[in-house]
Amino acid sequence: MAESAHHSSDMWVFPRSAEVTEFVTRKTFTRPGPVTLAMALTGVLLVLGIIGFVMKAAQHGFDDHTPWGYYAAMFSFVFMVTSTGPLAAAAFRITKSHWRRPLSRVSEIFGILGIFNILLFIPLAIVLPTLNNPDVGHHELALRRSIWFEGPIGSPLWWDLFGVIFVGINALALLWLSAVPDMAEAYEKATGFRRSLYGMLAGFWKGTKRQWLIHKAGMALLGAWYFMLLIFVHFIISSDYGQSMIPGWKDAIFPVVYSLSGFQSALGLILIIMFILRRFGGYQEYIGISPFWSASKLLLAFSLLWCYHMFSFGITYWYGRTELEQNVLKYLLFGSYGGVFAGNFFFSFVMPFLVLLWNPVRKSDWGPALAGASALIGAFLFNIRIFVGSFNAGNVYGEFITEVPPPVYPGLSDILIVIGGIGGAAFIYLLATRIIPIISLWEIKEGLLYQKVDTFIRGRYLVLAKPE
């Protein structure tokens, strides 16, 4: 382990290469008590969510979108965080940063939730009002404003659905490709269902030079596609289910804030999971302080960017002062959802900023995780504010929002739906960690080839090799 005057001894960790496979697969195959308890708890929440969904459907049906605001907020929160999760692995791998290695698989496993997101999206696809106004009245538009203009074939429903489906497929493909070498290694030690699954998914991978070459190129390509597709899908989902549901709201900054909230909250959740793995999961030898330190700087940057974009949105509308702009501000920022916005601002910016401002805190495992938890709460409040607001903003075919609607508080079914959706996502993630190694074996071993701590003059420093 590295020791110097500047860094703690566990800043960089170097597990023994020969023991990595044995250790991590053993951990994957066991199910400790706290994990079992967490799975049981989240499983119960998922069941409660299903009950809430049935109650809501029985009570309101799918003809009117307005009762589904909390469902939309829950979907958006789960989708925003879990769809952005795999991006961390893809982006840091493309930039060839070594510190990302323990973090990669934690981030990629979110790909499994692509299937969950598709299922969650189906009711929303049904309740979304059509672009064409079925009954044009006074001061109403024949075609409501949206990013689809005159509404090319299948829009917005099918293109939104295809977007969510392909984000899921791309994330699953990334996870599969990354995990193929690890599943091939774990195959030798697995029995029963796991052995059959690994055999099928790894397809007798052997680790030839050609396979590694395609593996690397494939992950670079899928990572690049994922980034390009995800930002686009964030754009269409936030526009179709957020902006275009509030008559007259036109804001180029909003989709950017949506994606930024996704980056911030996903990185935050990854840091929380890493903290739990390091402190309570027995992975101290695999997860040093370095990934927390490096990722915390990005988290700080995302928090600052979030604040900047929110200010840009606010100042433009505040300065514009048209009736529409004033109503949007009163509705989403200072009036109806003013309290939620205050919480959103505090947790998305103030708290992460105050926590991550200090270098000693950034150089800990708890500090970035704490800021991450705050960002996650902020993102949740952001989605409540935007999507409950959007689904209850009045006539979607109106020219613009002429009065400020009151806030909508959750009923029992809404509460069950929200906790069930979040609990369901956690349940599926936990289940996936029992099948797919949470630490990328090949990536850790590759890192060990290129990193060591060596002496330079009087100090001990990390020496990195850059093969490319």
């Binding site: 290469s17 020969a18 496979t21 044995e22 075609l143 990013i147 689809w148 203009f149 005159e150 090319p152 074939i153 829009s155 293109w159 295809f162 977007g163 392909f166 497929i169 791309n170 493909a173 490709l177 193929v180 070498p181 290694e185 030798e188 099928m200 790894a202 397809g203 007798f204 991978w205 052997k206 680790g207 030839t208 030079k209 050609r210 396979q211 590694w212 070459l213 395609i214 593996h215 690397k216 190129a217 494939g218 390509l221 899928l222 596609w225 390009m228 597709l229 686009f232 269409i236 074996l441 090949w442 990536e443 071993k445 590759e446 060990l448 080839l449 093969p467 490319e468």
Partner: protein, 169 residues
């Protein structure tokens, strides 16, 4: 005569590279041997041949197909249902761009996945010759040779420092 595999296991990557050099000197064609590792070593680390692949062609073809579909779908829809919106021309680019971008991405992703499966030659129905010690960091040098060459290759691998040699049963 049948081609048979033989696998030399090396604890030290340098010895595995030396085995590769020795095989080359013994006129064993480069296509007939491979290095098996548990992590991606840098290209050329073992002095091995340069691998060529066509993975990048797949997404390119996929993207072109998606782009064509997107342009055709949007332009034909707009021509079939000519609705003037906000004084914009019938064939306006912004709405076409949204759909075309998505269709391009979707087909590029599908073709990339097909390309990965095809180019990495996965899945295989049988594992073939392998040793689990490779997962512990050993380097495997897998050679496929005619049966009467097996002993010669065995000797080359042993002389290069193989800690064990595994043959097909």
């Amino acid at each position: 005569m049948a081609v048979r595999p033989i696998l030399g296991l090396f604890e030290d990557a340098n010895y595995a590279a030396e085995a590769g050099d020795a095989l080359k000197e013994a006129n064993i064609p480069e296509e007939d041997y491979d290095f098996l590792t548990d992590a991606p070593y840098p290209e050329g680390a073992f002095g091995e041949r340069e691998e060529r692949h066509r993975l990048y062609v797949f997404p390119l073809v996929g993207a072109l197909i998606g782009l064509t579909i997107g342009i055709l779908m949007t332009s034909m829809t707009q021509m079939a249902y000519p609705m003037v919106q906000g004084g914009k021309p019938i064939m306006s680019l912004p709405p076409m761009a949204v759909v075309t971008y998505e269709s391009t991405m979707l087909t590029a992703i599908v073709f990339t996945i097909i390309g990965i499966v095809f180019e990495s030659r996965l899945p295989k129905t049988k594992q073939g010759l392998y040793d689990t010690r490779i997962t512990e960091g050993y380097i495997g040098v897998l050679v496929n040779v005619e049966e009467d060459e097996l002993q010669r290759v065995y000797n080359i691998l042993t002389q290069a420092g193989a800690v064990d040699i595994v043959r097909d049963q």
